[in-house]
Subunit: 257 residues, 2 copies
């Protein structure tokens, strides 16, 4: 069983949450991949650099200076900090952007009404399965930040949930694959702020209904879209839940079609 | 023949120099490793972060904020930019800090009269030869920044010349190894600013003499110390020269014992 685990910024920024999350990741049996979001450091750094963070429809507008800032923050500080901590507990991680080993290519998003700048969208053959499988076969545990490349020398900012989902889809051709989206909640909540109202199972119809009722909003919509797409395209299981329960079969939302 | 090529900040900061340097690196036959210094971006970033750059005996004092800045700059922006550009010309690079794959460990420098902070010194078994050889055997070209780790979760700032030298020494046990220190000059100059006064050969006695005569000063002393140490410990050849002549057997300073 191959595990792909996505952790977001809120987990990265909270030490009390991050350390047990990394231990639970390390404890997963079999091949595994960690994908991480950004955390506060990119915003902090942007602020110090005098950049205005501009977000349209949940996506950061990424000009030349902003891509430099997010590469520094995601591929530099966040990625290497996670790798060093995982190495310290005996997990033989290797930190990666999509440029490394040509592992993840993307297309710069075409300019329509909005120019998102250096933002890369994934496509069907984005993942270099051969190089990635080779790395894993010889014993390395990949830790991906959400930076990809276009193969022409440009680094591009890509949604971390989408990277996790595309990795899972691509690798499900050769492995039984479980995709875990970790957040600081037990799963998809029926009542916001009521931790124990999490759904044990959720299907596409529930998702549509909850979206209409505004129970699910913002970034969670994109996350669930990526999650259901993964299930539809061959990933064996997709979970949404708290990293404390990563290695447990319950206490999380398990998605089904 | 295994080639280990070190490029410094001045090459990285000069586009007109960097691009042909990367092409010449790619054109080298056989297995190869690139090691890079920092460039201006760490100083620029430090300035933006309101940090005062403090350098004692050629070494940066690295407090908690400074290590974060150099990790962002070296392991993030500089490393990934080089990797993306090399991938664009078909060189299957993978960008690495010493924490990745547990490839380079160091000891935090003990506090004597000066506390250098998060600075790591290499030791005899710093290089994880097994993991590094495995990566290279399966087809990846390592690109190292000058960040190492202590195996306890801490990232440490390490001299890039020393990393290049230790890599060459460790790998010379299994490969015929050439170590190239690239700079923006043709080699070690007999008369500073007279490009064509470069020495074709230089031995340890010349080095001692030139040091006494103040012909060699500052960072060049450390570089040459690392270079001669590499030769003494089994590296087959050490060159100092301009990246334009990387693939040529002349137009550079070749060191000998």
């Amino acid at each position: 069983m191959l595990h792909i685990v996505k952790i977001g910024g809120k987990i990265i920024d909270d030490k009390a949450l991050l350390n047990p999350s990394l231990e639970n990741f390390h404890a997963l049996n079999g091949p595994k991949i960690l994908v991480h979001g950004g955390g506060k450091s990119a915003n902090f750094l942007s602020h110090k650099m005098g950049l205005r963070t501009q977000i349209i429809e949940g996506r950061r507008i990424t000009n030349r200076t902003t891509i430099n800032v997010v590469v520094m923050s995601y591929a530099g500080l966040t990625n290497k900090t996670l790798v060093a901590r995982l190495q310290a507990i005996g997990c033989n991680t290797i930190g990666l952007s999509g440029a490394d080993g040509n592992l993840i290519r993307s297309n710069r998003r075409p300019v329509k009404s909005i120019d998102y700048g250096y933002v890369g969208d994934l496509y069907e053959k984005s993942i270099n399965i051969y190089n990635l499988s080779t790395l894993m076969k010889v014993g390395f545990v990949p830790v991906f930040c959400a930076i990809t490349h276009d193969g022409k020398g440009n680094l591009l900012n890509t949604n971390a949930d989408a990277i996790a989902s595309f990795l899972a889809i691509s690798l499900s051709k050769t492995h039984k694959t479980v995709l875990h989206f970790c957040l600081e909640k037990k799963g998809v909540l029926r009542k916001s702020n009521e931790e124990d109202s999490f759904l044990e199972k959720m299907n596409v119809d529930d998702f549509r209904k909850f979206k209409q009722e505004n129970l699910i909003t913002g970034g969670m919509i994109t996350k669930l879209e990526n999650a259901f797409e993964a299930l539809q395209k061959g990933v064996n299981q997709v979970n949404i839940g708290h990293p404390y329960y990563l290695n447990k079969s319950k206490e999380k939302t398990i998605l089904c079609l």
